[in-house]
C-alpha cells in the first residue's frame, strides 16, 4: 500500500515533526494513552483547518501545544469528570518511598510526577521536557511568565519533597530499559488511587 504523506513543500508537514512531542504533552495531561492519542488527533485536525492562524517564523510546537491544551481543557470542562487537584491537597497526603540505594527509580519518579497538580505537570513538561521557553510556555498556557516559573519551581520542589531526596546520592534514571518501561507506564497509568 502506498501511503500518501504530505509533500515537502507544504508548511503543514512540520506538524509531523512535533507529533511525538504532542503525544508526550498529551500524555502528561491525560495520563492515558488512548485519551492522549485522541487528543492529539483532534489537535491535528484543528491545526490543519486553522493553519492560516499560524504565524510563519514562530514556534510551531508552541502553537500546536496551545491548540492541544485548549482542546484538552475544553473537553475536560464538558466532561467534568476528573477532580481537580490544583492545590495538591491529594498529593500532599501521599509520599513516595526513596529507593534503598538512593538512586531515583523510574517508578518512583513516575509516581511522584503523577501526584503533581495538573498545572505543575504541564509546566514541567513544557519547560523541562519540551524545551519551550518560559515565554512560549506562558503563551501556551495563557498565563504570565512569572506564573509558569512559579509552577515549574513548585513542581520541582514538590518532586524533591515527594521523593524525599534528602541525601547527596545522585538521582538519575537507571538505564534505557527502565526508561522504556516508564515511558510505557506513562501510557497506561491512571490516577493513583
Amino acid at each position: 500500500m502506498t501511503r500518501k504523506v504530505p509533500g515537502p513543500a507544504d508548511p503543514r508537514d512540520e506538524i509531523l515533526e512535533h507529533l511525538q512531542g504532542m503525544r508526550a504533552f498529551a500524555m502528561s495531561l491525560t495520563r492515558n494513552s488512548a485519551a492522549a492519542d485522541d487528543l492529539v488527533q483532534d489537535t491535528i485536525v484543528k491545526a490543519w483547518k486553522n493553519f492560516g492562524s499560524f504565524q510563519q517564523g514562530t514556534n510551531m510546537r508552541a502553537w500546536l501545544f496551545t491548540i492541544l491544551r485548549n482542546t484538552f481543557y475544553s473537553a475536560k470542562r464538558k466532561s467534568n469528570r476528573e477532580v481537580e487537584d490544583v492545590d495538591g491537597v491529594f498529593a500532599a497526603t501521599l509520599s513516595v518511598k526513596p529507593s534503598h540505594d538512593g538512586r531515583l527509580a523510574m517508578k518512583d519518579f513516575e509516581k511522584a510526577f503523577a501526584l503533581l497538580p495538573l498545572e505543575q505537570r504541564e509546566a514541567l513538561i513544557l519547560i523541562g521536557a519540551s524545551e519551550l521557553t518560559y515565554e512560549e510556555a506562558a503563551e501556551t498556557c495563557g498565563v504570565a511568565i512569572g506564573t509558569i516559573k512559579s509552577r515549574v519551581n513548585r513542581g520541582r520542589a514538590k518532586l524533591v519533597e515527594l521523593l524525599d531526596m534528602s541525601n547527596d546520592e545522585p538521582m538519575e534514571l537507571t538505564d534505557n530499559a527502565t526508561v522504556a518501561v516508564i515511558t510505557a507506564g506513562l501510557s497506561v497509568r491512571k490516577n493513583i488511587a
Binding site: V5, P6, L16, D37, I44, F113, D168, V179, L186
Partner: protein
C-alpha cells in the same frame, strides 16, 4: 554542600530525567499509522476541495 545548592542540583536532575523520559519516547517510538493516515486524509481533502473550486 548547603541545602540551597543541593536543592538546585536535584531540581536540575529532575529536568534531566524529564527530558530523558520524553526524549526517549520521541526518539524511539514510531509514529502510529493513525496519524500518518489522518495527515494523508487531510491533504487529500484539501486537494479535492481545490479541484472542486477549480471546476
Amino acid at each position: 554542600m548547603d541545602n540551597s545548592n543541593r536543592r538546585s542540583r536535584l531540581e536540575r536532575q529532575i529536568d534531566e530525567n524529564l527530558r530523558k523520559v520524553y526524549h526517549n519516547e520521541e526518539e524511539d517510538a514510531p509514529v502510529p499509522d493513525r496519524f500518518l493516515d489522518l495527515l494523508a486524509q487531510l491533504k487529500e481533502q484539501d486537494i479535492a476541495g481545490d479541484t472542486e473550486n477549480d471546476a
